[in-house]
């Protein structure tokens, strides 16, 4: 037997023994937050590493890359660049995303000049027994990942789509590539011929002569290249592409951090209540000579221990979760950014360190306020019963909360930072924390104005809450955080979904839609195909669309150029325009309608004179209006197709909208199209309803991970609510014992506690819903707008919110009653004799 107990044991031992369940909950909450954050970070890191690795392989030793519109630029530029005195080697490349026959997916084809590519991108040049294979038409080399995906080997045939024709290619061997990279390589001339790209290149890789500054060459070339063609270092092009997905990845990381934050709140509520319950113990230890600083350090240390345990478990669970997510949801977590990439899980030690430290820091922060209060308490006062609420007195100052609310409101007006809505996130965080700090005051205000009720249990419940707004605030913190997050996300997602639905209805006015292929950019409708569609019996009207993409800014991804058949009398009426349109004047150039995203990137507004690169020339346009485009995050511009054909000479189309005569069914029209067009079985023919349901399914899949992360955050929050309710109720056993003595029945005490639970949850729900609405407006108008450049109208999902609120209130009352039953179990009347 030892007669001397260590001070840490004296301070913490009681907590570990008495609050084991709640400490386990805290550890679990931190572990969950760390696991989610770490998993999302690992999946993102894996996807980006694989993608940039693939870009490096494909860029090889190129110092610069020349790129133009997606469907290519005039190959005469290659001769000019190859002759440039500063260029050692120029390697021309044709890139085509060709649809795989029988599948709704495409395969990236690189058409290369093997002799030149060997000097710049040797990884693209396949090694083969017969060196002439790399020059032969009808032959392709595929990467091992493609061979595995399609189940083919050397000597087999793969079939792709070009125009509306099938293109069989013999697999002559495997291209050297990283494990997850999916592409095929063939001779450039064969590719140009097979995919109707004669005289056109997609890219020219350049190696600069040794000793010549690359940047100087880049700047000189940039000034002389034809419009719409850009030159940049390969790394810059890769960064431009990964930047497109960055906002989405950052959003997921923020959601994971929200889960960690709610875990921190749970630690706070657990620690706050456990510290209050041990207040007299600490007062005694302080009386015996324990210093304030040591007591505070020990209690923060208790939080640190929770953080270390939670982080350790979280890192292991996060790794397992990332592994599962990569396999089940995919590298892009359902958003479709990294097609053609199937990455292996990359272990990122920095992410591990960062999330472990965050877990510990949040747990320590959750313990800090209760620890400080315990250390500051005057021992003499703390030894007296009824002093517990004083522990929360410092939380009642309104100034920090008001300051945070003001700062949060001000931050909504600030612009994005590095194209990310940093201030939007900070604004939401400030509003949330500010509200949490003000919650005790809000609760006190609401309770002060509660009607006087003579029923003793209800009157006692209201009196208890009125007198202890700080303690109620601890329970309220978790409920307000959970409800506000739930409401804000629900309103944002419902607004987005409803806006998307309305947008789809607006942009799909025809009876059926025909696309040259379900995937890739190798398919098209020739003028003959278009004429055949116009001539289909029962088709009263057709509108064709040519989708193209052009480089407007070398530092930005390509912008989609949509050349559409528009109504002559009011072309803008075919588009979901937002804001005012420009009334075109007689001497204005042709009109163009830009998307919200493009308006954000370029600051172009209706009436602005702009130039679009078409067929190597700058074509003048006037911005006639801004339209809403939920399909293209990188920005888009719509012009009339007749203008496009006149300027570019490209009279092919990629899509067609068909209006049917009364009495002509979609099935009839489909049959007639298949009879009239050769290769019509390769067309993707859909009704607006099918496109809508597919789009909404993709939308729901994209938000699946969002829902999952949010559900975890809410679950942690509600666990915190039940944990803090339970702790508060159990701490009042002596009170219940006295009330039983003086004649309160068990039912009356349960009614009193249910009233408290209902009142706290009701206040929490009201504050949480109000805050959630404000946060949803920031998500919609600031975060989403700055992240994805999509505007949307606000739609409130009333029914789900009402049902969730009722469920939450019921859960809160049930939790209170379970806690009450627990507190009343055993011989509660004897609790009047309980000491600590």
């Amino acid at each position: 037997m030892t007669a001397v107990v260590s001070i840490p044991r004296a301070v913490l031992g009681g907590s570990l023994a008495r609050f084991r369940g709640r400490l386990a909950l805290s550890v679990g909450a931190i572990a969950l937050g760390v696991a989610l954050g770490f998993a999302v970070a690992l999946v993102n890191a894996s996807a980006v590493a694989e993608f940039t690795g693939a870009m490096k392989t494909l860029a090889g030793q190129a110092d610069l890359e020349v790129r133009g519109p997606r469907n290519g630029f005039d190959e005469t530029l290659f001769a000019t660049l190859a002759r440039d005195a500063d260029i050692a080697v120029a390697s021309p490349i044709v890139e085509i995303d060709a649809r795989l026959e029988g599948r709704d997916e495409s395969l990236r084809i690189y058409g290369i000049d093997a002799f030149r590519a060997a000097a710049v991108t040797p990884a693209l040049v396949p090694s083969t027994d017969d060196p002439l294979d790399v020059l032969r038409p009808g032959i392709a080399f595929i990467t091992p990942a493609v061979a595995a995906q399609l189940g083919v080997k050397s000597g087999d045939t793969i079939t792709l789509q070009t125009g509306l024709r099938a293109l069989p290619l013999r697999v002559a061997g495997l291209a050297t590539a990283g494990t997850g990279e999916r592409y095929a390589v063939m001779d450039i001339a064969a590719a140009q011929d097979a995919f109707a790209r004669l005289g056109v290149l997609s890219r020219i890789d350049l190696r600069v002569r040794p000793g010549v500054p690359v940047a100087a060459v880049r700047d000189r070339l940039a000034a002389t290249l034809p419009p719409g063609i850009a030159v940049a270092a390969p790394a810059d092009n890769a960064a431009t592409t990964t930047r497109m997905s960055r906002a989405y990845r950052v959003n997921l990381n923020v959601l994971a951090l929200v889960a960690l934050f709610t875990g921190g709140l749970l630690v706070f509520s657990t620690q706050a209540l456990s510290v209050v319950r041990r207040r007299t113990q600490f007062a005694l230890l302080r009386t015996l000579g324990l210093t304030r600083a040591r007591l505070a350090a020990l209690l923060v240390g208790e939080g640190v221990l929770v953080g270390i345990a939670g982080s350790t478990i979280g890192l292991v669970a996060g790794y397992a979760l990332a592994y599962a997510m990569l396999r089940i949801v995919g590298a892009d977590l359902g958003a479709g950014y990294f097609r053609g990439v199937a990455p292996a899980l990359v272990v990122d030690p920095w992410a591990a360190v960062v999330f472990a430290l965050m877990g510990v820091a949040i747990a320590a922060a959750g313990s800090f306020v209760p620890a400080r209060e315990a250390a500051r308490a005057r021992p003499a006062a703390a030894l007296k019963a009824g002093d517990e609420e004083q522990a929360f007195a410092r939380l009642r100052s309104p100034l920090p909360g008001i300051a945070l609310l003001v700062a949060g409101a001000a931050m909504t007006a600030l612009p994005p930072v590095f194209a990310l809505p940093i201030f939007g996130y900070l604004s939401i965080a400030a509003l949330l924390v500010g509200t949490l700090l003000l919650v005790p005051r809000i609760a006190a205000f609401a309770l002060r104005h509660a009607p006087a009720i003579r029923n003793a249990p209800i009157a006692l419940a209201v009196a208890q809450l009125r007198a202890t707004p700080g303690q109620a605030g601890v329970s309220l913190a978790t409920i307000v955080a959970s409800v506000s997050l739930m409401v804000s996300m629900a309103v944002m997602v419902a607004s987005f979904r409803q806006s998307l639905d309305e947008w789809l209805t607006r942009v799909l006015p025809a009876d059926m839609y025909v696309r040259a292929a379900s995937a890739g950019d190798s398919a098209f409708l020739s003028p003959d195909d278009q004429q055949a569609l116009r001539a289909i019996d029962g088709v009263t009207r057709t509108a064709f669309l040519r989708v193209q993409s052009v480089v407007l800014d070398p530092a930005q991804p390509r912008v989609a150029l949509l050349a559409r058949d528009l109504p002559r009398d009011d072309p803008g009426s075919a588009l979901p325009l937002i804001g005012d349109s420009y009334a075109r004047k007689r001497d204005d150039p042709p009109p163009a309608w830009i998307s919200e995203a493009l308006a954000d990137f370029t600051a172009w507004r209706p009436g602005a004179r702009i130039e679009l690169p078409l067929a190597g020339k700058r074509a003048p346009f006037v911005v006639a209006g801004i339209w809403r485009d939920y399909a293209r995050q990188q920005g888009s511009v719509v012009i009339d197709r007749s203008t496009y054909v006149a300027l570019s000479g490209d009279d092919t189309a990629t899509d067609a909208a068909l209006w049917l005569a009364a009495g002509t069914g979609v099935g009839d029209a489909r049959d007639r199209i298949e009879a009239a067009l050769q290769g019509a079985d390769r067309l993707a023919i859909s009704t607006p309803g099918e496109i809508r349901s597919l789009s909404l399914r993709i939308f729901d899949r994209t938000f699946a991970v969002t829902y999952a992360l949010l559900a975890v955050a809410i679950a942690i929050g509600l666990t915190g609510l039940s944990s803090s309710f339970g702790a508060l109720v159990l701490a009042r056993r002596r009170e219940f014992g006295m009330l039983r003595h003086i004649g309160m029945t068990r039912r009356q005490i349960a009614a009193m506690l249910a009233t408290e639970g209902l009142a706290v949850s009701g206040i929490g729900l009201a504050v949480g819903i109000a805050l959630g609405f404000v946060m949803s407006l920031i998500l919609i108008h600031v975060v989403n707008r700055q992240s994805f450049h999509w505007g949307m109208s606000v739609h409130v999902p009333w029914l789900p919110l009402v049902l969730l609120s009722v469920a939450l209130l019921a859960a809160a009352v049930a939790t209170t009653l379970v806690s009450a039953r627990q507190a009343m179990s055993g011989d509660v009347v004897r609790a009047v004799k309980d000491d600590w």
């Binding site: 007296k384 019963a385 009824g386 002093d387 517990e388 609420e389 003579r454 003793a456 009157a459 006692l460 009196a463 208890q464 009125r466 007198a467 202890t468 002596r734 009170e735 014992g737 006295m738 039983r740 003595h741 003086i742 004649g743 309160m744 029945t745 068990r746 039912r747 009356q748 009347v829 009047v832 004799k833």
Partner: protein, 204 residues
Amino acid sequence: MLDRISLDVAAGTLVAILGESGVGKSTLLNLIAGLDRPDAGTVTVAGRDLAKLDDDDLTIFRREHIGFVFQAFHVLPYLTVGQNVGLPLALLGYDTARAHARVAEMLAAVGLADRGDSMPRELSGGELQRTAIARALVHRPKLVLADEPTGNLDPTSAAGVIELLRDCVREAGASGVVVTHSRAAAAYADRVLMLTSSGLAETG
């Protein structure tokens, strides 16, 4: 623990029960209050056999007929002194005006007439116990039970409190039982009994 105990307490009388720790003083109080049930025998309070009452009936019986004073006061920290005193009246459904008048009367009786709106944390130990006495008597119970009511008080306050309890019991015509191990406190009672393992016996 307790065997062959018989106790009659006349109205207006305060009986003190002395005894060593662990002898069963508190158990005796719990039996009288119907908070414990005897293994054998009956407990009759105010003519009612407590063994025949279920939990709810016992609770209501306590509410109507018994007042309690505890060693640790058990004054609810979130109610004012006046609200604490009025708690039994609220449970009995008194109307507000009647309850206010009675609370004021009781606060005056225990010397806390001007502290009705104070919070318990503003009171001394002696004042808290006076509050508890007022609460125990506010609904005019037939029986007042006090378990070590002076255990947490200094000798001067203790004397004041026990004297007050006795006077209030007398004035209310209630029967009072106080268990204590303080002979000094017991000396203020009208009768003093000694509880030992062999039973309850009258002392000088």
